[in-house]
Subunit: 301 residues, 2 copies
Amino acid sequence: MITKLSQIVEEARRQGRKRLAVAYGNDAHTLKAVYEAYREGLVEPTVFGDKAEVLRICQAEGIDPTVFAVVDEKSDVRCVSMAVSLVASGGADVLMKGLVSTDKYMRGILNKEAGLFPPKGTLSHVSVVEMPGREKLLCIADVAVIPLPDFKQKTVLIKYLSSIASSLGIEKPKIACIAPSEQVLPSVVSSTEAAILAKMGDRGQLGNVTVDGPLSLDVALYREAALEKKVQGSAVAGDADCLLFPNIESGNVFFKSATHFGGAEIAAIVVGTKVPCVLTSRGDTPQTKLYSIALACLQSK
Amino acid sequence: MITKLSQIVEEARRQGRKRLAVAYGNDAHTLKAVYEAYREGLVEPTVFGDKAEVLRICQAEGIDPTVFAVVDEKSDVRCVSMAVSLVASGGADVLMKGLVSTDKYMRGILNKEAGLFPPKGTLSHVSVVEMPGREKLLCIADVAVIPLPDFKQKTVLIKYLSSIASSLGIEKPKIACIAPSEQVLPSVVSSTEAAILAKMGDRGQLGNVTVDGPLSLDVALYREAALEKKVQGSAVAGDADCLLFPNIESGNVFFKSATHFGGAEIAAIVVGTKVPCVLTSRGDTPQTKLYSIALACLQSK
């Protein structure tokens, strides 16, 4: 079982290099991250971007440009569409965002003709969190893409969480549906839907997972809190592998809390597409960028 | 300006003892907290409860029982209703929960005949958070009472936050309306309502406060995040005194994150009632209990 983010890099390396398509890799941040992933043995990169600019950045940053296949294209939007086409057609295993805006990148991914995003699919975002003092990794969704998942989407998110947890070697992931309290509050949607999901989990309707909810954050994560609040007979309370957040605000607040004052490191990918997509941002640490590429490699079939 | 929770205790002491009515003070947790608040010079306590039991606990815990006026009553529900009547009639300044369940306590507070909760009022909960490394206190709402505040309720919560911040000596509190992003997302209610509240704040419709939103948690709290995401022209970004959460799930996740892995200390009270009400729970640290009583004293007129 993988219990540290650094082990994701090791495992991805063990599985062999994946073909990475970089959409508009026209900035030092992106190229350094891709170069690092190359040197770690994770990827064979193809960079779509302005070739002269890519070479200039490589020289300035001390990056060996011969490790990249560079496809020369000056338009960011066309770079996205070319990179998307490449992964959709099976010519690459993982997609990665470069200097292009998240908006243009996501529009490229969602473009129906491109075939990367299945019709009636559910695009989402899963993060893997390593927190100081916790003995295992935590998979969480959705902190960035779906504002307010409906019930159907929540069942899909559980599938995504479970798939990521499986790739970390967790055989039967314990999934906590987060709500304001461990008491079922009949008038609070996050609470009642958590109860329904838990019962569906009991009935085997959500796959090889153990689901419980409603659980508040502390009861999901800490055994002492579960004991103190007398949440009995729950295999998930105090020992969650995955957190399903009921809305983007609570997910995002947890993500920001964990990274800003919880000392957490993160890997994150966009899921629901034919191949995993890396969506790092400038503000991410170099570690997060590497971990995210490694997680995407691990998720690619 | 008060920048530490311990200063709330000092300021409450400076203002003189308040009359505290304790609803069903039949447990060691409650009596120790009240005794500590008495010894700090904050309160003159009246305890409603089983007198024999109260005296027994005092003896076991080394508490001087003569500091309490004990009203002998064995029923928890009647203790709540008697304590509520006392504060509602002006016979005490602050209400505090004892061994009774939160549910019964809240029902006692909300009871129309009792007159503690104004008709058409908005019952809510405000916490004051002291986080390591932050140079000032943070007031937050609502992490515990209102599941999903509607727009009108959000304006009332801003009033409550502003009132608490004022009692901490913050002249014109900076209030951040939390959302998943600092971009206005037209289809996300937390985002659009934050934008509307910000503009109402600009127009002076929310009192002597500076309101901005939508802001994500990191942009609200950290200058570096505000700079990095280029949130310009905001007096609140990176320097918030108060956080308004768009739903109980995000508020509760922040509260649990701050206390469980953020090293935060907390004071919290129920607001919207004629007098402030203390709602500590068994799990709270003795410090939190003392701080919460002190905060309620400070808020009582």
